[in-house]
Symmetry: C2
Subunit: 334 residues, 2 copies
């Protein structure tokens, strides 16, 4: 897990280089096809990358996007009407059966289909008309890390390609700084490890973000569960203040912590409010970020900080983060 976390600056740089031309080509086709909306299909870590895909398509291009519920087609056998849609399937292995089945369905239903996967020979890649590939090499750790950031790089590239023209070049120029933002975050490892040694009694955690950091909160919570066995839940600051805050006074204590994921974006006000409310309820909070990077790129360094936190909490507790209890790489769900 640690090696793959540190691979990320290079892996992201590689994917930005290798997939640019394909992203520009797919972008042209998306513009030509006059695509009106996007459905993204993914599970687990890939789902969190897909939510960021929805944000970047909405914020940067004004394209409405939503997450597909694969069960609508795989469990309930419904046929969606997908004329005017693009379907983007995201899966590291390209072998999650329900994502593959959803993409086959989407292609038949008239959607323009794009696979984002590590394996160009996978069923997912074969089910889609177009593909962007992670080129991340075999992922050995069960807890996906470079998968997340390389999927993110592909989704962001796709958005840039779709924007086209000068906008595409501007987005690419900013995106080219993601590897360096990742490297800066990884250089914080010593401090994060020390903080996690002090926090080694933490068994429960809420991880909170707002805007671009929100899907990273979901992803960080998943890493804490998988690698460190912590009962962690990710939440949006907006939703958290709507109800879940009620559990704070009862849950507060040495075994409970709130991680606040910060960026330089407009979500800062909400994050300050949620931090104040949590501390007033006696909850110990810890901030990750903000990194000196534009808000839309903050998921890269924030994800790396969260991965390091999960890794070092596991190590501080004497757990082997590479052998989480009872997990395998591909979960066969229908």
């Amino acid at each position: 897990m640690r090696r793959e976390i540190h691979d990320q600056p290079e892996a992201v740089a590689r994917v930005l280089e290798s997939e640019r031309a394909a992203a520009w080509d797919i972008g042209r086709r998306l513009r030509r096809a006059d695509v009106r909306f996007v459905l993204l299909a993914a599970r687990g870590t890939s789902d969190h990358a897909a939510i960021l895909g929805k944000y970047v398509l909405g914020c940067k291009l004004g394209v409405p996007a939503g997450l597909a519920a694969p069960s609508i087609t795989t469990l309930y056998r419904s046929r969606l009407r997908l004329a005017g849609a693009a379907a983007i399937g995201v899966s590291q292995s390209g072998r999650s059966p329900d994502i593959v089945e959803f993409m086959r369905h989407a292609a038949r239903a008239g959607a323009l289909t794009v696979a984002i996967t590590n394996d160009p020979a996978s069923p997912l890649a074969r089910a889609a008309a177009f593909g962007l590939f992670l080129r991340a090499g075999p992922e050995r750790s069960v807890a996906a890390t470079k998968t997340f950031t390389t999927q993110l790089a592909c989704l962001y590239l796709l958005a840039a390609g779709w924007a086209g023209g000068r906008r595409a070049e501007e987005m690419l120029r900013e995106l080219a700084r993601a590897p360096e933002a990742l490297a800066r975050a990884l250089a914080l490892e010593g401090g994060i490890a020390a903080a996690m040694r002090r926090a080694r009694g933490v068994e429960r955690c809420v991880v909170i973000g707002r805007g671009y950091p929100f899907p990273v909160a979901l992803e960080t919570a998943l890493k804490l569960k998988e690698a460190a066995g912590v009962f962690a839940e990710g939440a949006s600051a907006a939703d958290f203040l709507h109800g879940p805050i009620a559990m704070a006074p009862r849950q507060a204590g040495r075994a409970f912590k709130a991680l606040l994921l910060l960026s330089r974006g407009p979500g800062g006000g909400s994050m300050r409010r949620v931090g104040l409310r949590l501390r007033a309820a006696g909850v110990d909070t810890m901030a990750l970020g903000p990194d000196p990077t534009p808000d839309w790129l903050s998921p890269f360094p924030l994800a790396a900080r969260g991965q390091l936190a999960a890794l070092h909490l596991a190590l501080a507790r004497g757990l082997d983060p590479d052998r989480p209890a009872g997990l395998s790489k591909v979960t066969r769900v229908r």
Copy 2:
């Protein structure tokens, strides 16, 4: 909270009666406008109802739907291109500022807009071209209960109206049995209360469903947090087996429980698998359901069972479920 839980059969029957004509009218307009996709905007409990709206539109009508991230418009000020879209805003009070703002934006961006709210005079109702109203009377309890099932009734009616013709009448005929399914679930209160007295030491909980019961798992987890101060997380069985299961052995113990929400639908296989895996890891599981009702209607009785579980866990612990720590009815988020 208890009174409002028991109001539900009558409240749902009332809304099915009072909103049918409006739903049929909106349905005609949705068909005439050739709407291609739907964005639903909501927070908290309303968000969970909206996810079920996405399921019913997909499963029953083949209409692709997704959840809007309000922050894309309210925080990041992006303009979505929404020609060919319908936007459905769901809010009990009709006063959640970010949902209202999203709906104003959606109307300007060319979407056909529908408000689902308790208050026909609210800003949300005024921002939308059409409305379906909960007619649920003032909701006094902070933990929303009848809000959820009456919102669900409106969303299901809207789907029936959109289907039109004989399909609409068939769906309405099934839907008319939701109040009786709710009443049957409420009659189980004694048994649920006894189970919750035995479970009163539970401080942490995962609530798991698959298919239609999945959004009810999210909602039940929220009720457990709000009313009983439990750290509860809702999850899809498919996603849970992908990673979060890893925390099970470490979290197992008297203070941790898994609630499994069952229906008579095709998700049974996944639910059995997740139950076996949890019990093998030493986790105490408790099933709610299945109720003798068609799968797509299972959210009505399952939601009632979950509400009763949260209420009686709170009471068994000496908490006042009507005064959760630091919550108010409308959370002002931007």
